[in-house]
């Protein structure tokens, strides 16, 4: 549906609060829908985005009010990166208590970086 070859970027900035995870979820669904993912794929993106948001909300930042989700759309994939000015937040997933979340994210996304090298908090992508 998106016809150009450049990347389009959509960013959403949300308070570290559980009540707004549903907003992230719906925004992610709307983007996934727009770029032509089918119903199952939209659902996959929705689940993965929510799971990462949950961790953001659980950890919170001591200095910042909000975190950011960056959706980068190319003809090949939807890349989703989480970021925050507070760079003390790192490797937000912890293998033990997050087993369910991790297995969902790994199952639904094609590429996942739990502790990104690039200074962001989390990054994942799904191929189109």
């Amino acid at each position: 549906m998106i016809t150009n070859n450049e990347a389009d970027t959509i960013e959403i900035s949300l308070p570290f609060k559980a009540e707004y995870v549903s907003v992230a979820r719906l925004t992610a669904s709307a983007i996934a829908n727009r770029i032509g993912f089918n119903i199952d794929e939209i659902e996959d993106v929705k689940v993965a985005v929510s799971e990462v948001c949950n961790k953001m909300v659980k950890y919170k930042s001591k200095t910042e009010e909000a975190y950011k989700i960056i959706f980068k759309i190319t003809p090949q994939k939807l890349a989703i990166t989480y970021d925050c000015e507070d760079k003390s937040l790192k490797c937000i997933f912890d293998n033990e208590e997050d087993k369910l979340a991790i297995s969902l994210i790994n199952a639904f996304m094609d590429y996942v970086e739990f502790c990104p090298e690039n200074n962001s908090l989390f990054t994942m992508s799904k191929n189109i």
Binding site: V21, S22, S50, L100, S103
Partner: protein
């Protein structure tokens, strides 16, 4: 739209059926935890959870179900989960929870 979580209790011939409708996420799962733990602790019998109206559940919600099951098992009881939508059944399969609960 994000649909509000509703939890309904139904008693029939002494058995308990709980219907969960709407979305169970990090925000609403606290409510589910309180209601469900309370029911499991007071009922001391097998419980059926009807998920026909559940359109979303995240890992915190799944965690609450697992916690409720642990409590139920302490008193020798089981939790049956019925009418899962396809997108949610997928989550049970991926996480292996289809082998932990009795899915009908």
């Amino acid at each position: 739209m994000s649909e509000e979580l509703k939890i309904l209790e139904n008693r029939e011939n002494g058995s308990v059926k709980i219907s969960i409708t709407g979305e169970v996420d990090i925000y609403s799962s606290q409510l589910l935890k309180e209601r469900l733990y309370n029911i499991v602790e007071t009922e001391k019998q097998d419980i059926k959870i009807d998920c026909e109206g559940m359109n979303y559940i995240d890992s915190t919600g799944l965690g609450v179900l697992v916690g409720a099951l642990k409590k139920a098992k302490e008193s020798g009881n089981l939790i049956y989960i019925t009418n899962l939508k396809e997108n949610i059944k997928k989550l049970f399969l991926i996480t292996g929870l289809d082998k932990v609960f009795i899915i009908e």
